[in-house]
């Protein structure tokens, strides 16, 4: 099951040229870029690992693409995303975030039903990938 998350999530995966163009847009807006990766695809997992420091003083997309490619090389089968952070007062938050790399094989999620008091049921989802320990999931 293809994980969809962030901006452009319902589009097909962006090509490198398209990623580069998006990064260029973010730089034009004065946003800082950061690369993050994870192998825990739960949609509520907002704590992805940082790949290096956020890049605050880039002028050109090639710099960010260099980091994306380095991260892909190190973690070819992880989810990798690019965040663009707007530091303007009042925003001070991520303005753009999209996935730039995903595992070849995404096993999807199971629904877990927990029976609680009074026959009511609590639902939760869990990725099949997290059955295995961190680092060997994909």
């Amino acid at each position: 099951m293809r994980v969809t998350q962030g901006t452009f999530s319902f589009l097909p995966d962006l090509t490198d040229a398209e990623i580069s163009a998006q990064v260029e847009y973010a730089l034009r807006q004065g946003w800082a870029l950061a690369v993050e990766y994870t192998d825990e695809p739960h949609p509520r997992n907002v704590y992805w690992e940082m790949w290096g420091m956020p890049m605050f003083d880039l002028k050109d997309a090639a710099g960010a693409m260099m980091e994306v490619n380095a991260c892909r090389k190190a973690f070819p089968d992880h989810y990798i995303k690019i965040n663009a952070f707007d530091s303007t007062q009042g925003w001070e938050s991520t303005r753009l975030s999209f996935i730039v790399n995903r595992p070849k094989n995404e096993p999807g999620f199971r629904v877990v039903r927990q029976e609680t008091a009074g026959r009511s049921i609590r639902y939760t989802i869990e990725s099949y990938a997290v059955d295995r320990p961190e680092g060997s999931r994909y």
């Binding site: 290096g52 890049m55 880039l58 002028k59 050109d60 090639a62 710099g63 960010a64 260099m66």
Partner: protein, 293 residues
Amino acid sequence: MNDEVPATVDLQALLREANVLDVLEALDRDLVGLRPVKQRIRDIAAYLVVSKARSSLGLTGAPPSLHMSFTGNPGTGKTTVAMRMAEILHRLGYVRKGHLVSVTRDDLVGQYIGHTAPKTKEVLKRAMGGVLFIDEAYYLYRPENERDYGQEAIEILLQVMENQRDDLVVILAGYKDRMDTFFKSNPGMASRIAHHIDFPDYSEGELYEIAGLMLAKLDYRLDPGAEAALHEYIAMRRTQPNFANARSIRNALDRARLRQANRLFAAAAPVTREALQTISAADIRASRVFQGG
């Protein structure tokens, strides 16, 4: 179907289109002397226009390698020219952004194992789309210490210079003799740099002209006595140690301005616009250079 290949290309039109002529003219106007350097820059600009024309006619051409080395004594205008170079390359479309990132060894080389690579990469990332200017590049290589991390920085630089040629242009700068030894001990670096440009020292007349330009930019002028004094000053300063061409002249003028301000204060009288602008002989003759220092 409009991807037809045109039969001819107007080189002059390409040059005009790139708006590169005014940069070249500004270079001629603002920089005194440096004839060989200006000629080389014109050559490079012409070469870039031609290779652009070639590719528009569908002739194959690998993107030209534009990494350069600027050698010359201190104060001969290496950084200034590098800045113009970034502008020219930007207008001709060889670098996308045209900014100049100026670094020295400290910005590239780390202090402990594993510190160098991220540091160098950080700088390279910042320079992407522009020009990376490495001043006193020979400090990167310290043969006396075989565990020096400079070598690591050089290797990363080489890799990027080779693989991301269209993303950034690297300019190495430094004194001639030390750069020569640097290239001799780093053949990989030497072979990846296509353009070696040597910056000659300025003649006395050129230094005087430079002083004139600097003063004009700051809205100062010399009275006749000061003109003579400056001529003498330049002649004497040139023979002294630590002479750094235009930089020495700028410092001398800065000190003269200081003395002028002092003089105006000491006079304790209302000053005219004229007096505020004029540097007199005394301001220059008070220099250490005239006291045999």
